[in-house]
């Protein structure tokens, strides 16, 4: 079923070199690296969702902090940004009608998060807002900022809720595991309806609740197979596609008469 053909796998295993005593006086700054074994993956039409594994490494970790487990990693796979309209139905004369709406600019189509621990245990909520990190903290820019804050808040919450309900925004607590002091593995979920396009994988390193570094990589998600070709033709050569659809219908009607004729 799952048509995931490629696995993003380990890439950058940077070796730690022994530091000379002279530079050891100032503590080295930690940094984080993630690597994908491929920059593009293809999914087939019957794709029913899969887990994507991303490997990464911590550079220059403080062994003491690492042993105490005070390093935390948050990995995000963010889909391409698109404008989205959120509409709310209200009852008018008993009939449910779309009345109010709010447009948001550059909303990531998908947003999968994997973390070492629950987000609230890693850092202060204000930190996430500042970093625009996590499905609940992601900054969603309304197209019309003159709308009342209450309205914007209501529609922002509805947008997050709908995205989570369709599996496009997901959170995998414990999805990042340290395999050794330096090496970690992150498992993010790809929803069955994962959008095609350029996705961005980002890893955030936290040390004792403080944000340290970020690293990112790009991943192209493509659809392959016959259905995708049909989709592409329908969009790129829409007139010819229409002519084909009409001819196919006439041919089917004519053949059907010949084959099944009863008069």
């Amino acid at each position: 079923m799952a048509g995931l053909r490629a696995f993003a796998a380990a890439a950058s295993l940077s070796m730690l070199f022994v530091l000379s005593p002279a530079t050891a006086q100032t503590p080295p700054t930690e940094s984080i690296q993630i690597g994908l074994s491929t920059d593009a993956i293809s999914i087939t039409a019957g794709f029913s969702g899969a887990d994507l594994t991303i490997f990464g490494s911590l550079e220059n970790p403080d062994p003491l902090i690492a042993r105490q487990g005070r390093y935390d990693v948050v990995v995000v796979l963010e889909g391409p940004p698109r404008p989205v309209v959120v509409r709310r139905k209200d009852r008018v004369l008993g009939v449910w009608i779309n009345l109010d709406s709010e447009t948001f600019e550059n909303v990531p189509v998908s947003y999968s998060v994997a973390t070492t621990r629950p987000l609230q245990d890693i850092a202060e909520p204000a930190k996430y807002k500042q970093l625009s990190l996590g499905a609940q903290n992601l900054y969603l820019k309304p197209a019309d900022e003159t709308d009342s804050p209450a309205t914007i808040q209501e529609f922002t919450a509805a947008l997050r809720e709908r995205k989570a309900a369709t599996g496009l925004y997901s959170e995998n607590v414990g999805g990042v595991q340290f395999l050794s002091q330096n090496l970690f593995r992150a498992t993010v979920r790809l929803a069955p309806n994962v959008p095609v396009g350029t996705h961005k994988a980002r890893a955030f390193l936290f040390k004792s609740g403080m944000f340290v570094k970020e690293s990112s990589a790009q991943l192209e998600i493509r659809k392959s197979g016959f259905e995708q070709s049909v989709f592409r033709v329908a969009h790129d050569y829409s007139f010819l596609y229409g002519v084909f659809a009409v001819s196919l219908a006439m041919l089917t009607g004519w053949l059907g008469r010949i084959i099944f004729r009863k008069d």
Binding site: D90, W96, V230, A234, S238, F239, A249, G253
Partner: protein, 307 residues
Amino acid sequence: MGIYLPIAEISVNVFVLLAMGAAVGFLSGMFGVGGGFLITPLLIFYNIPPAIAVATGANQVIASSFSGALSHFKRGTLDFKLGGVLLAGGIVGSTAGIYVFALLRRLGQLDLFISLLYVVLLGTVGGLMLVESLNALRASRSGAAPVLKKSGQHNWIHRLPFKMRFRASKLFVSVIPVLGLGAGIGFLSSIMGVGGGFIMVPALIYLLKVPTNVVIGTSLFQIIFTSAYTTLVHATTNQTVDVILAFLLMAGGVAGAQYGAKAGQRLRGEQLRALLAMLVLAVALRLAVDLFVTPPNLYSLSAAGLN
């Protein structure tokens, strides 16, 4: 067996679609209607997005009406001239319909508008047909001879200017109502994904007094071209025609239609019309219920900047 629909972007069961096509084809063969008014709501009930259900419904209608028109052409029960004038109006109506379709889609009111149109039209047509057929049934049961419509009776339509002669239909009538009727049907075709036969046939018979034997052939002839035009424009402006979906429905439909036509010959006219009326009303009722029931989700998302 599942299949992924490239435009609708969902997985569906092949056999469900073939059966759906066959069932609607059977009914359309039996009652002499295109079946678009059944296919589109059925697709919507099957979770196909309404915009795609409408455009694909129009595509499917071509197959069944082409098949039907061929047999009428062979029998000579087709008025090309009348069909041509209807078609001219149809193109104008269809173009307007596509524009309204895109506008409603942008406003987020398309689904509601499609449902409302279906409820109102199917409810009216189904209700009128049921009353008429029940009266006919009651009359035939009491043994009274059915009242024949007086031919040659004229109404206000026949007093309009710009008259034109349609030889095959033995008709001398103003082109205004013919063009208007074509335009109305074209408009409905592009917004509802129907051929419009269920409105065209009674309108030709009762309003324009076209002889019954040429009505169905002429209506089918006009529907082929209006639906073809609608399909083309939907494909180019909205990219909502799903050929895979349409083909499965057609394949089932053309097979079902031929058997339906045979079965229809064994039933009496008024029984047939009463059955069709009840079917039409059931579809209208089902769509009406959805309008009033509280939806599970009040909020919906859609891509902004859709044409």
